[in-house]
Amino acid sequence: MKTALNHFADRADAEGLLDVAYATVDSPFGPLLLAATPRGLVKVSFPQLGTEATLEALATKISPRVLEAPARLDEARRELDRYFEGRLTEFELPLDWQLTEGFRKKAQQAINRIPYGRTRSYTEIARSAGNERAVRAAGTACGANPLPIVVPCHRVLRSGGALGGYGGGLPMKEALLKLEGVL
């Protein structure tokens, strides 16, 4: 049965029917759910937020052709493994930004330009996104980041240097900043 299912995912991919592939991968912080479209990685999520709800949201927002197909997430998994081992400082895999738009997208793309081992304040992100006064919206954009870890919202701190918030929990934000030598 398992062979039949794997074979099916491969054939669906070969026929261009695999609109959203997903896989659950291990990380030092517990399992992560990764999802990709043919354009690139589209979603990283912490399963404590509910795998089912995440998959349903992908089905509604992108396409109901959502299938578990770990092979399509291999590159993302390899890059994440190397990142967690401290051997990768810049993700190279293609990203699909379709789950975000408007000011949030600009803010998240600004976050994506923060170099490894550096931090920015919410104000600086607001400014990079084109509206210095939208600090609160920049905070919301961090919280709504569809691609945490890869798009490094953990590198965004409060102006005074306080950690701020994190979807994966503050201990994880702290651990990522330690990994990058910031803390």
Partner: protein
Amino acid sequence: MWARVPSEGHSSLSHLGSSRRLINDLTATLPPFQTLLDDHAAEVMAVLRGAVGRTDADDCFQETFLAALRAYPQLEDASNLRSWLLTIAHRKAIDHHRANGRWPVPVEEVAEVAVSDPEPDGEIWSAVGALPPKQRAAVALRYACDLPHVEIAAALGCSPEAARRSLHEGLKRLRKELA
């Protein structure tokens, strides 16, 4: 087919019934396709094994789910995904039997081909496999999947009475074959 509706506006339609159900249907979203696999793959495989045998069931399984995946985003009624899948599986099993020519083709020489060993219960299931398509499907749906007549009818696209008849004829024939 769409009924002709009066042109005065929405209020004239209200007597037709609850708009809530219509709205629900229009905004209903399809679940991730993976849930169809998680919930129904084993059952579809069991039906296909009953219908075409273990060796060919894998192929029919792929064809069934690929056809379903192709059509899925346009599916309008997601209220019974299970019978939808079983209907597709049934069609694929029929296609399979057609393609493999249950109508023998004369050849000059009979090729020597290996045949697989009989499986457990192989005798019964190969007798099931030799039934005419409707009877075979009805028997497989009843005994491999434990479906009630109404759902067998839905999967086969016939009336419950016709489903009951196919099942009955199929069983009668099996009893004779295996006696």
